[in-house]
Amino acid sequence: MLTKLTRRMAQTLNFRRLPIKSLLVLTLLFAGTGTVLTATNFVNASDHDDGEVDTKGRNLNLTDLYVFREKDQNPQASADDLVFVMNTNPRSVARQQYFFSTRARYQFHVTRVNNKDAMATGRSHMIIRMKFGKPDKNQSQPVTVTVLGNGKPRSFRAQTTPLNQPAQSYQGRVGQHHIAMFAGLREDPFFFDVEQFFRVRAGARKTGPAVGFRDPSKALDFAKGYNVNTVALRVPIKLLQAGTDAKVFDVWQTISLPGRGGRYRQVERLGRPGINEGLIVQNNLLNTLNKVSPSFEAAALAGKQPQAKLAAPVIADASRTLKALGNNDQRTQALLQAFLPDVMRIDTTGKSGYGAALNALGSPIRGRLLKDDVIDTTLSVLTNGAVPSDNVSYEGTPGNTAQGHQPLERRFPYLAKPN
């Protein structure tokens, strides 16, 4: 969702950041930033209103998913746990409290995978669902965490951490396992000189002057200084295995809303950074992907009907993007197989890191750590090495105040304190 990506940056208060899921973004021949304030008004008296309208609330926007072995982030931690991080509410302004939706279901989906080289099936073997209640006088929201798919659903209660309070994590018991959970504002760990990316892309499309990425001393990290609403979970691998000997898991996250009649409908989905948004340029196609599970892509890629027919425009859109980046038919096909279905695969037998290992399909299979430079990785892969970096990093370049994030915390949930 390039669009999302771009939106991630281009909006103001109400504007939501589109998860930059995308490097592919690079490719984009068209993309855009979206905003959020739309006035839905029509007033007798004067025609002017105060409609603070964001058609899709910011808290319904997924920005990033991180999945890693905890010991790869913190050597003191147990080797038996994974950490899942879901970031939402893009471009949260510093020093302001934001809330999770009280209507939505925020969910992590997990597939147990037998073979790290197999194509993702997109089937949810387990779901970890978060449902948030109304904020109290301390600006804290109650959270109910429910684990589904391991026999009887099991839930535990927690609270969000308000802004300016020390991070508070909660332990919940699920059968014989314990899950730790944190929810609240944190600094956005993402980094990308997205504006220069737009210029680079415009040059490639001949719609603007030809330029490259800026020197590290001048590159601008657009996400610097923003916060996000984070849900972080520490999950025992054994809980995910559910009695099997699975060592590899596919993870993705979704947000669903109740429609008329109370039936929940998925409005957001995200796996790897930049895939949907990078490969899929058109908003309407992006919306199509947001409403289905990765199993839809798996079926479509396998030629199953009606999925293949329904997905044809989406696949075509992604193919166009990849070819525009200079990939030939064969490589385009290979990249599609590598990045779709859009899930974050983690092989728990090796060190976590987005670029740490690829499988036989060319898919990243070691999850994603908080400081991973996913933009550089994706740029490099999609352009076949032609564009190696946007020259922005988590720590930033000394002397360049437009870059650099706060140090990560040493303990769970690890993300830096909010601005």
Partner: protein
């Protein structure tokens, strides 16, 4: 010796007194159950009002402005930071009604686009909303179509288009687009927009959709929450359900004290009830809130106050003159302006209505010219009604009849329209048709009496 026997009637009095007290109590209880205060509970904001940003909303937006100004200072040529700043200026304009913020939003969005001419829908959307505020619907549609070409399915652009279609009377297209929006994203803003479209079409499902919108609200999105309640209240006010309407306006004011849109609607309602002091207070609250800055509500307030004076039999033309001066400044370049610097929010229709309030041959003639120009830009029910009124005053009764019929054909359930249609039909010597229109008006709002008509200028 007199025996002091209790008068006979005293005995029953023992029974009557408690009975009377009971009746009085029951009456008080029944009244209180129907009072706006009690009813407001049904529409009250479900989240705490003391959450950050609720009670100090302007302060919060100011903090956001500071945040983005700092970013722009750090990277003056960042198109995305400028776009974000422009959006925040716009938000401040919406929150206060102050014209200067709109101007800043426009200038900053233009700077943003000049720095980043591609992939910058954020700045374009701000400009589209500025154009919409100017009632320059042609420009609004041009910009949003441009965005939708670059980004098919952009929800924000679609929502702006819906608003444009709503304002110009293109209700079928508005309905098509908003149905799509709600299907993909059933949120408070999209559902409110859908309710507004249904309201304009007179659909029975309007209340249900407003309820669904309010049920979909989220903590922290107070602007949308307050706006939905005001629009829902206006829907009830048109049906003569004044207590419900007032409850909704008050609920909006609980969320956003001094919310100009709610106060304007509340003042209209109070005028209709003949509570002129309360109406005046509501208008004064907006003026006090605006810190003496020029706002997009100024002419509305002046015209409303003039109506109060008129209904009280007092001199009202000085107030109308003030409002007229303001509107003339804004209307000179109105609907064709490409920039707010040209001085316009395109209030041609409002100026025409004000001139009709003055009801002089010269002002009526000018009002007709204005409305003839306006109807080329938009053909919503309110515009057609204003045109009909101008035609009626100019003794073009047949033309007025056609215009009001067009307005009625939109489907909107507005008793004022039907009463206006009845008035025109009577002048055309069509008593039966006039009666049918009058019946329809009272069917929509059984309490649409002479005071209600005078309040909107029908019988003055």
């Amino acid at each position: 010796m007199k025996t002091h026997s209790m008068p006979r009637f005293h005995k029953p009095a023992w029974l009557i007194v408690p009975a009377v007290i009971t009746i009085v109590m029951l009456t008080i209880m029944a009244r209180s159950l129907n009072s706006p205060t009690t009813q407001a509970n049904a529409f009250s904001y479900p989240f705490r009002l003391d959450l950050p940003g609720n009670r100090d909303r302007l302060k919060q937006i100011q903090a956001e402005l500071s945040f983005y100004k700092d970013r722009v200072q750090q990277a003056p040529t960042s198109g995305l930071n400028l776009s974000a700043l422009a959006g925040t200026y716009w938000k401040m304009g919406k929150a206060t009604g102050e014209v200067s913020w709109y101007l800043l939003a426009e200038k900053t969005a233009q700077r943003s686009l000049s720095s980043l001419p591609f992939d910058n829908a954020g700045a374009k959307l701000t400009l589209a909303k500025i154009a919409q505020a100017q009632h320059n619907f042609k420009q609004t549609n041009k910009i949003t179509q441009q965005i939708l070409t670059e980004q098919p399915g952009n929800e924000e652009a679609q929502a702006i288009l819906v608003t444009s279609h709503l304002a110009t009377g293109n209700l079928i297209e508005a309905d098509r687009l908003v149905t799509q929006l709600v299907k993909s994203t059933p949120t408070l803003p999209t559902l409110t927009l859908q309710a507004l479209v249904q309201d304009a079409r007179g659909e029975a499902s309007t209340s249900q959709t407003f309820e669904a919108a309010i049920a979909a609200e989220e903590p922290g999105e107070i602007g949308s929450s307050a706006f939905a309640r005001v629009m829902y209240g206006r829907h009830y006010a048109r049906q003569g359900k004044l207590q419900k309407a007032e409850s909704l306006y008050q609920a909006a004011l609980e969320i956003l004290p001094n919310y100009p849109l709610a106060l304007v609607q509340l003042a209209s309602l109070k005028i209709r009830q003949g509570k002129y002091e309360a109406a005046e207070q509501a208008y004064n609250q907006i003026v006090a809130y605006s810190r003496q800055e020029a706002t997009v509500f100024d002419h509305v307030i002046l015209r409303g106050k003039a109506r109060i004076k008129q209904l009280q039999g007092q001199a009202f033309t000085p107030l109308l003159q003030k409002a007229e001066t303001l509107l003339r400044q804004e209307t000179n370049t109105g609907h064709d302006a490409t920039s707010l610097e040209q001085g316009s929010f395109g209030h041609r229709r409002e100026l025409a209505l004000l001139l009709l309030d003055r009801n002089q041959p010269q002002t009526n003639a000018e009002a007709l010219k204005l409305m003839q120009a306006e109807v080329k830009v938009r053909q919503d029910a309110q515009t057609l009604s204003a045109l009909a009124q101008a035609q009626f005053r100019a003794d073009r009764h047949q033309a007025a009849h056609l215009s009001i019929q067009k307005a009625i054909a939109t489907g909107i359930a507005d008793p004022a329209l039907f009463m206006q249609a009845a008035q025109i039909a009577r002048r055309l010597d069509k008593p039966q048709q006039a009666q049918r229109y009058a019946n329809r008006a009272t069917q929509i709002d059984p309490s649409f009496d002479q005071q209600a008509q005078r309040a909107i200028g029908l019988e003055i």
